[in-house]
Structures are given as structure tokens and as C-alpha cells.
């Protein structure tokens, strides 16, 4: 009997659950059930993060997506449960659009994954190459905070490709944040019922006050 590779076993388990949940989201017609299947899928992705030793990312996934976004989603559905939203039927046009966008994304991801030379049987040499060329998210994250660490690289600075005074993406990042805030306020404003409070009060008064008990005045 061969030794069981627990990592592979749990990776396959979580990956299957994640993909199964995703398929169930697409196949389901009830929006609350969709939310539940999405919870299953996203929790399985969190499990993958835990399996990879990225505890913080896994907990973040659970907190932001499962505990935050999806709770708000179900909350919103419960508030508006008596509408056309409860059961969604996907039209052929939507299927086509979704397939196009999803297929394009899958193609990009597949190409990237297959492009990693150390995974296509290149062996030790390829693994060392990828170690040298390895890119992490750190430069990007620092770039969003306004620091370009690649401008500190003396070799690149000497060639003139990366001048030292190059700035990060702080301004763009801030503009996007403010833009999101504006969108949020705009959505809240549009969703608000635009009715005068005095009109509402008058209507309520008219609906609740008893009809005039006096008989109509007799004519002359």
C-alpha cells in the first residue's frame, strides 16, 4: 500500500467542492440556494488557502465573502423576497455572454498556468529559473501605497528604463476608492423613495381617519 498524500487528497477534495459549488450556482434557479452554493464554493476556496498555509488569506476569504458579502446578499433577498428575483431563469443571450466572458478568463488563466515552466516537466533547472524570476504581489502592493521598489534596482536604473523618481499608483488607487464611494452614495440616493414626508403623512391621515359622519347638507 502506497503512502497517502494527504495534501493531494485534501486539495482534490476542496477543489472538487469548489467547482461543484460553482456549477450548482449556475444550474440553480432559486437565488437563496445560489447564495448557499456560493458559500460552499467560497468556503472550499478558503479551505484551499488554509491547505496552502495561507491562514490569513483563508480567514479573510471567510470573513469578507462568506461572513460579509453573502450575508448582505441574503439579507437583501429577504427584504425584497416577493419579486421576480426569487427564481431566476437564464436566457440564451445571458448564457452566451457568460460563456464568452468566462471562457476568455479561463483561457487566460490556463495559458498562465501552462506557461509555468517548472510545472511542465522541466525539472530542477526550470524550478531554479522560476525561483530567480519569481514575482510576488509585494511590489504591486507597495506600488499601490506609492512606492516603486523596482526603481531601487540599480541595474534597471542604470539602463534608464526605470528612472528613480518613478511614482507608484497611489493617486490612481485613491481615485478608484473615491469613485467607489461616489457610486455607493449614488446608489443609495437612487434607491431612496423620492416622496415628500408631508404628503406621506397626509395620505396616512386620510387613510386612517374615519369618514365624515355628518350627512350631506340638504339643498335649498
Amino acid at each position: 500500500m502506497e503512502a497517502i498524500h494527504w495534501h493531494s487528497f485534501f486539495f482534490l477534495l476542496f477543489a472538487l467542492v469548489a467547482c461543484g459549488g460553482a456549477v450548482a450556482v449556475v444550474a440553480s434557479a432559486n437565488i437563496v440556494r445560489m447564495a448557499v452554493y456560493l458559500v460552499v464554493s467560497l468556503s472550499a476556496v478558503a479551505g484551499l488557502f488554509f491547505l496552502a498555509g495561507a491562514d490569513f488569506l483563508g480567514a479573510m476569504q471567510l470573513m469578507v465573502y462568506v461572513g460579509g458579502t453573502l450575508v448582505l446578499l441574503v439579507f437583501g433577498v429577504m427584504l425584497t423576497a416577493r419579486g421576480p428575483l426569487v427564481s431566476l431563469h437564464t436566457t440564451a443571450r445571458q448564457w452566451l455572454m457568460a460563456l464568452l466572458i468566462g471562457g476568455a478568463l479561463a483561457a487566460v488563466l490556463l495559458q498562465t498556468v501552462l506557461g509555468v515552466s517548472s510545472w511542465s516537466g522541466g525539472g530542477q533547472q526550470a524550478a531554479m529559473e522560476s525561483e530567480v524570476m519569481s514575482r510576488t504581489a509585494t511590489p504591486l502592493g507597495l506600488g499601490l501605497m506609492g512606492v516603486r521598489i523596482d526603481s531601487l534596482d540599480p541595474a534597471l536604473a542604470a539602463t534608464g528604463q526605470h528612472p528613480a523618481e518613478m511614482s507608484g499608483y497611489l493617486l490612481a488607487f485613491e481615485i478608484i476608492s473615491v469613485h467607489l464611494l461616489v457610486v455607493l452614495i449614488g446608489a443609495a440616493y437612487l434607491a431612496r423613495a423620492k416622496r415628500d414626508l408631508r404628503e406621506v403623512a397626509a395620505e396616512e391621515y386620510a387613510a386612517t381617519s374615519p369618514p365624515d359622519p355628518r350627512p350631506p347638507a340638504p339643498g335649498p
Partner: protein
């Protein structure tokens, strides 16, 4: 202790495959069974305690007959009764989600124990970000309640679930801010390290570090009580207005799983309060150190293992006493204070808890900057001058 576990893991890897497989499974089962035992026994005791505390506060005796004295077999009797009840699913319910909901709640409440240390180093999985993991997973309990309330097909359940969502999502904000304070003081999110940072006499507890942490502790208690839907914040159940809130349509064993989730969540927040503010497994007096249970470099390995084991048993007792006192405090609150209205609940959270928690956070930062030795260190240095 940790050295012993490491030796054991190395020993496991040297076994032949089938035995290795068995050994891993047994090792995992031992941890799960230990945790289940502690949690489930505590839940049974909590339910009995709730009856007794409620009775005493209302000038009654509570259960006295089941099991002879004090009614100590009341919880098993309740469990048997619930098992024998009819399991009803309403006609208008979403059957799949209705069945799923109690398990989601309980699984979320129980999974938290994966990262909660019961004594220094006695933890199922030691995570660097244990505090964050605990908050994230404990926050998933609301999802079970939401599903239960929605899938019941009853307006009472729906109202209860909506109140739950509004309440829990709001109270997570001040709760998170309160939890950041001990993380700041200890400089880590590892619960084991946070507990160990408070080793020594009671003045080392983060509760007594400075006035701001003292106030933060009470804000934490308020938010935690609201987070686990206990009175005076039990609006999702609100039996005087909503029959039983989100649990209205549940009966028998499914209902009892929701109750188990509630009492497990109480254990979680009480244990978190104990570890973050009340020294965790360190008692007010460092008994283990005074008894000489700290192994030195010259101690023989097996003796050192026994000594840490004994010290950790004392620590476990310490932690459990603190958890039980915390849960008792929540019961005392429940039977003393009247239930708030929903707008009062939201006002308490957004107008009082959030600003106060922010002020306390800033205050603790300033205190750490100006008086790094904490309150007692500051007083001592002042006395010496």
C-alpha cells in the same frame, strides 16, 4: 509539551504506510474527541446552570428532582425528550435549506475551537492569525440563522432572521475594534502568545494594563453578548413578540442543535474574553511557577514533559473557571435586564459602542507610547520618585 508532540510526529513519519495512515487518523480523532467532550459537556452544564440561575434570580428553586439532588441530570433528560419529539418541516419551507441551517450554525460555532488554546500550547492548530480566524469563523454562525429564518416560510422566522443579520453585522465592527487592543499590547495575533504575554501575577492581565483596556473589556462584553444573541440583545428570538424568532418552525432535535450552537458560541466568546483580557490560563497567582513546575535546561526530558503537563492542567482549570464565570455573567445579565428595542440595539452599537471602542483604541495606543510599563509600572515608577 511541544517537544513531545514533535517527537511523536517524527515517530509517525517513520511508520510503514498503513500504520502511518492509522496513526494520523487516531491522532486527529483524539483532538476532535477531546474538544467535543469539553464543548458538549460544557453545553450540558450551561443549560442546567441557565435553569438554576434563572430560578434563583426569580426566587424559585429550579430543577431539584431529576438525578437526585440539584436536578443535575436535567440536561440529559431534556436531550432525551428532544430526541423523542416529532420532527416537523412546514409545508411552505425550502426543505433542503431548512435541514441544512442548524448544521451550518453549529459547525461554525464548533470549528472555532480549532484555534482556541485551552492552555499554553494545548491547541488543535496553532495559527499565527488565530484571533482573526476565530472572529471570521464565529461570524459564520449568522448564516445558519439567516438560512433557518428564510427557509422556514414563516413571517416570524423571517423577522427574526432579518434582525439577526442587522444586529450581528453591525456588532462585528466594535467587536473587532475591541479585539485589536490586546493584539496591540501583545504584538501578535497568535492566541497562545497573547495568553503567555500575561503570565505572572494578576497585574499582568491586559484587563488591568491601563484604564482604557479596562473600559475596552466591558465594551467587548457588550458586543459579544449582542453577537451571540443573548438577552438583553436577543431580538432574533424575542419570544414575547416573534414566538421564537428564527427558531419558530423548528422542533425536536433540529431546535436543540440551534440551542447547542448558541451555548457553544457563549463558550467561544467567554474563552476569547478570558484569553484576551483575563490572562487566559494564567491564574491571578502564578501557582505553577511558585510550585517550581517550570522545567529548566538541566531537567530530564520526561520529567520536563510531566512538569509542563501538570502546569497546563492547572492552566486548563484556570481557563475553564474563567469561561464559566463569564457565561454565568451573561446569564445574570439575561435574567436581570429587560430586552432592548431594535432601534435601541442599533443605537447602542453605532452611537455608543463604535465611538467608544475607537476612543479606547486611540487611548491604548497613546498609553503604550507614554507609559510602556502599563498601569502598575506607571504607579510603581511614580511611587519610587
Amino acid at each position: 509539551m511541544n517537544a513531545g508532540i514533535a517527537d511523536f510526529l517524527i515517530w509517525i513519519t517513520k511508520l510503514s504506510p498503513p500504520w502511518q495512515w492509522t496513526a494520523y487518523t487516531v491522532a486527529a480523532l483524539i483532538e476532535v474527541v477531546l474538544l467535543l467532550t469539553i464543548v458538549m459537556l460544557s453545553v450540558a452544564v450551561f443549560i442546567w446552570m441557565e435553569r438554576k440561575v434563572a430560578a434563583r434570580i426569580q426566587d424559585r428553586l429550579g430543577p431539584t428532582r431529576v438525578g437526585g439532588r440539584f436536578g443535575w441530570l436535567q440536561s440529559p433528560a431534556d436531550g432525551l425528550k428532544l430526541l423523542c419529539k416529532e420532527d416537523i418541516i412546514p409545508a411552505g419551507a425550502d426543505r433542503l435549506l431548512f435541514r441544512l441551517a442548524p448544521y451550518v450554525s453549529f459547525a461554525a460555532a464548533f470549528s472555532v475551537f480549532l484555534a482556541i488554546p485551552m492552555a499554553s500550547g494545548w491547541v488543535a492548530a496553532r495559527l499565527d492569525t488565530a484571533v482573526f480566524f476565530v472572529l471570521a469563523v464565529a461570524g459564520l454562525e449568522v448564516f445558519g440563522v439567516l438560512l433557518g429564518g428564510y427557509s422556514s416560510g414563516s413571517k416570524w422566522s423571517l423577522y427574526g432572521a432579518m434582525r439577526e443579520a442587522a444586529q450581528v453585522v453591525s456588532y462585528e465592527i466594535p467587536l473587532g475594534m475591541c479585539v485589536v487592543v490586546p493584539v496591540l499590547l501583545a504584538g501578535t495575533m497568535d492566541l497562545v502568545a497573547i495568553g503567555d504575554a500575561q503570565a505572572g501575577w494578576a497585574n499582568r492581565w491586559f484587563l488591568l494594563h491601563d484604564p482604557f483596556t479596562f473600559a475596552t473589556f466591558w465594551i467587548y462584553i457588550t458586543c459579544a453578548t449582542a453577537g451571540v444573541n443573548r438577552a438583553p440583545f436577543d431580538l432574533p428570538e424575542a419570544e414575547s413578540e416573534l414566538v421564537a424568532g428564527f427558531m419558530t418552525e423548528y422542533s425536536g432535535f433540529r431546535w436543540s442543535i440551534f440551542m447547542m450552537a448558541e451555548y457553544t458560541a457563549m463558550f467561544v466568546v467567554a474563552a476569547l474574553a478570558a484569553i484576551l483580557f483575563l490572562g487566559g490560563w494564567n491564574g491571578p497567582v502564578p501557582v505553577a511557577r511558585l510550585l517550581g513546575l517550570v522545567p529548566g535546561p538541566a531537567t530530564r526530558p520526561y520529567l520536563a514533559l510531566a512538569m509542563t503537563g501538570a502546569a497546563n492542567l492547572l492552566g486548563l482549570a484556570n481557563l475553564l473557571v474563567k469561561v464559566y464565570v463569564g457565561v454565568m455573567f451573561m446569564m445574570w445579565l439575561r435574567w436581570t435586564l429587560p430586552r432592548l428595542r431594535i432601534d435601541q440595539v442599533m443605537t447602542t452599537c453605532l452611537k455608543y459602542c463604535v465611538p467608544l471602542a475607537s476612543i479606547m483604541l486611540a487611548g491604548v495606543m497613546l498609553w503604550m507610547f507614554f507609559f510602556p510599563g502599563g498601569l502598575c509600572g506607571w504607579v510603581f515608577s511614580w511611587v519610587r520618585m
